[in-house]
């Protein structure tokens, strides 16, 4: 399957080219925002369709993977993340159609006040492409370049409104992301320099590709110059990429960035961008596990980072002060859920990998639902000059949207029969499974206790926030706001996915199992057959 033009390459072209071409086309379009939005949505539909085709293609043979154009590599794990990117992008791009805009006469004013529609769609599509490319890239340094590029392209999207708050949020985002990501490049340089390839008089070019490093480590063709430098590299990488993954202590851009961006962008940032950085961490996790040959350093680091993120999210979600606006609260939920996912990977056993991967998808879908639904509520109140912190009685004013927001919120905090509950349950089950076999069983029990306490407190915190928004008397007279059935239908579809995910992992089970198999390389415990 290594031919230059194979089925895989055609599918990949189908995934990447539609948003890429739409990005280019957006630059040449006139100020017809709705038409550009429709084009963006169509591109996302095509890209999503081809990513489903990729799932079938990759599952057509066991342990199927393929290289293309020297720099790219696809396996089940990358396919899973490509699918995740495209599901969220599909819904987010659909909602760009409904973003607030003015008519043509006030277009010049709009261009001053808001980011130009052309550039918005250019950046939105390019952001989509960059996140699609992250799971495809094989070269470790280019992976860093792509993650940096996601910052370059998403910062102007956060600054879309061009007001002071949006500028401040974009500035914070770009400064924190840039400073964090430096650690990741240093970690990459250290890691690559720490390997000695046997039988190569000169370092081969391919040794910058993670697939080759993994293969060479599996085959014993490469030895690290010392375990210490591998550990240091992994810590630097984890610290660096966790800035983009929204993990403690580099998460501080999350509430500002997610809070000020337009809702479809917030959905992409929270649902997808964090997962892309997580994907990169996972690739380095595999390399580190193989290089350390059975040492659980990488798993322990992930477990600690994950648990700290979860615990640190709790007080921020419990903060019910007015300035803690709802989108900021949702951003802190990203910190919580990224913590849960990282905690799952940190357990280092197949069942936990399965749960963590599934949780990544559930969180992405749930966050898309929450940001897009709340975006509707926010837009309706903003039309009547009601500021964000004064939003009350949404259930009374917009009953269906309010119900969707309420149910989405309950799903987000792990209410039974929703997908988040299911995946959190799998992770906890895995933790209990690990206790009898682990040397650190006491610490795992402590970690599980902290996990449960945090999740319970967070449940209470979000219910208070939701109650404030949904219940009470709305400052806008009833019947003044009409709910758009096209928006409701798509939000309903998202909720339906969350309910289905609460019952079964089908049809993703084979893809998840293949991905778990990849993650198991270098891990001590026995993996899935």
């Amino acid at each position: 399957m290594n031919g230059f033009f194979n089925g895989g390459l055609l599918i990949i072209s189908g995934i990447v080219l539609p948003p890429l071409l739409t990005a280019i086309a957006s630059l040449f379009g006139k100020h017809q925002s709705r038409r550009q939005s429709v084009l963006t949505f169509i591109a996302s539909v095509f890209s999503f369709g081809f990513s489903v085709a990729l799932v079938f293609y990759i599952l057509s043979e066991p342990s199927h993977s393929f290289h293309f154009l020297f720099l790219f590599y696809i396996d089940a794990l990358s396919t899973y993340f490509i699918l995740l990117v495209n599901i969220v992008a599909l819904f987010a791009s659909y909602f760009t159609i409904f973003m607030p805009r003015q008519d043509d006469e006030t277009q010049a004013e709009q261009d001053k006040a808001l980011g130009s529609s052309r550039f918005f769609h250019f950046q939105f599509n390019l952001f989509h492409v960059s996140m699609l490319l992250v799971p495809m890239i094989d070269n470790l340094v280019l992976l860093w370049v792509l993650i940096t590029f996601t910052t370059v392209i998403s910062a102007p999207l956060i600054d879309y409104r061009r007001d002071r708050r949006a500028q401040e949020a974009a500035w914070k985002y770009i400064m924190i992301s840039s400073s964090g990501i430096v650690f990741a490049l240093l970690g990459t340089i250290f890691l690559i320099s720490a390997f000695q390839f046997k039988g190569f008089p000169v370092r081969p070019y391919i040794d910058i590709n993670w697939s080759n490093i993994t293969q060479a480590l599996n085959a014993g063709l490469v030895t690290p110059i010392g375990q210490g430098i591998i550990k240091l590299s992994f810590l630097l990488l984890l610290l660096g990429y966790s800035t983009k993954a929204g993990l403690f202590p580099m998460h501080t851009w999350l509430p500002d960035g997610h809070g000020e961006a337009p809702s479809p962008v917030s959905a992409l940032l929270s649902g997808v961008l964090l997962k892309c950085a997580l994907y990169v961490i996972l690739r380095f996790y595999i390399i580190t596990n193989l290089a350390l040959a059975g040492d659980s350093f990488a798993s322990s680091s992930l477990l600690i980072f994950g648990l700290l993120s979860l615990v640190m999210a709790t007080p921020f979600i419990l903060n019910t002060k007015k300035e803690n606006r709802f989108k900021r609260v949702l951003a802190y939920h990203s910190l919580e859920h990224m913590g849960i996912i990282t905690f799952g990977f940190g357990l280092g056993i197949p069942l936990a990998f399965f749960g963590a991967l599934f949780h990544a998808l559930n969180h992405a879908l749930n966050k898309a639902l929450m940001f897009l639904t709340y975006g509707n509520v926010q837009a309706a109140y903003a039309k009547e000059q009601v500021p964000d912190e004064e939003i009350r009685g949404a259930f009374q004013l917009m009953p269906v949207t309010g119900a969707l927001l309420g149910l989405g919120g309950l799903a987000l905090v792990g209410m039974p029969f929703f997908s988040i509950f299911f995946s959190e349950f799998i992770i906890l089950w895995a933790a209990f499974q690990k206790v009898p076999t682990s040397k650190d069983s006491f610490w795992i029990i402590v970690a599980v206790c902290l996990f449960l306490i945090s999740v319970t407190l967070i449940f209470a915190g979000l219910v208070v926030h939701l109650g404030r928004i949904l219940l009470g008397k709305s400052p806008i007279p009833q019947g003044k706001v009409r709910e758009n059935p096209l928006q409701i239908a798509s939000l309903g579809a998202l909720l339906l996915l969350l309910i289905i995910g609460g019952l079964t992992t089908f049809p993703l089970t084979p893809l998840l199992q293949e991905s778990v198999h990849i993650l198991c390389q270098g891990v001590q415990e026995v993996c899935l057959p």
């Binding site: 949020a169 770009i174 400073s179």
Partner: protein, 254 residues
């Protein structure tokens, strides 16, 4: 002792001197309060790193290292003007030519007066702990020692051990400068010091062209990011807030 050995020893001594210079300038950068001094310290650091890249190019007979030196020298030349561009943010006057606008925007002399004016000691409610130069110097020194301690514990004593320690130290000190800054421009200088840590790692740790080439590509992505901050975000932020102080950029918490 052969001539090759003498040459190698000289290269090694030269490398260590440059590495020490890089750390010394980072410490100076962390302790000084004035932006002009920070820029000067940063430029000196760049020169030291460029010299190191030239030494490495000669030692390894690898022209890509000269590419690294060239990038650093370009940075040395343009950095002050770029920071001036972020400082002078007056909008273009009606009828003003673009050339004259650009000239005014990049005017270093005009920018220097703003830098002097916005020095922390001129700030009424300046936090004395942050304003006292000895405190950041002590903390930065501790970070350098910490980097050395951590590296000596985990990394085998390889040929490039000092460079590895220094690059890690520059990253930590750069991060500290960012956290400890009063104004957005000084914060930017911290980010640039961190970037120099990367250059140091690239020049000292990397020993093969392929990885160096990949590193150069990644540095272009980094420059894109830096340029976006300097050309797009910081001027806008300064225009809307009418201030370069970080204390004044807190509308999100209101």
């Amino acid at each position: 002792m052969s001539i090759t050995n003498i040459a190698n020893n000289l290269v090694s001594i030269g490398t260590n001197i440059v590495v020490i210079c890089a750390i010394a300038t980072a410490l100076y950068n962390a302790s000084t309060r004035r932006l002009q001094n920070k820029i000067n310290g940063y430029r000196l650091q760049i020169l030291a790193l460029a010299l190191l890249a030239v030494i490495k190019a000669i030692q390894q007979a690898d022209l890509w290292f000269l590419g690294v030196a060239l990038i650093l020298i370009i940075q040395f030349i343009i950095i002050e003007r770029l920071v001036a561009g972020v400082t002078n943010v007056e909008p273009r006057q009606p009828g003003q030519s673009f050339r004259s606008f650009l000239h005014e925007r990049l005017d270093i002399v005009k920018a220097r007066s703003v830098w002097l004016e916005t020095s922390p000691e001129n700030r009424a409610n300046a936090n004395i702990v942050r304003a006292n130069p000895l405190t950041p110097l002590t903390i930065s020194g501790a970070l350098v020692i910490g980097a050395y301690f951590v590296a000596s514990q985990v990394v085998p004593r390889v040929e490039n051990f000092n460079g590895l320690v220094a690059s890690l130290a520059l990253l930590l000190v750069g991060l500290f400068i960012m956290i400890n800054s009063y104004d957005t421009l000084a914060q930017m200088m911290g980010l640039l010091v961190m970037e120099n840590g990367l250059f140091l790692a690239a020049v000292i740790v990397i020993n093969d062209s392929n990885l160096l080439l990949a590193f150069l590509v990644s540095m272009f992505a980094w420059y894109l990011l830096t340029l976006i901050i300097l050309v797009m975000f910081l001027p806008r932020l300064r225009q809307s807030s009418h201030s370069i102080y970080i204390e004044d950029q807190k509308t999100l918490k209101e």
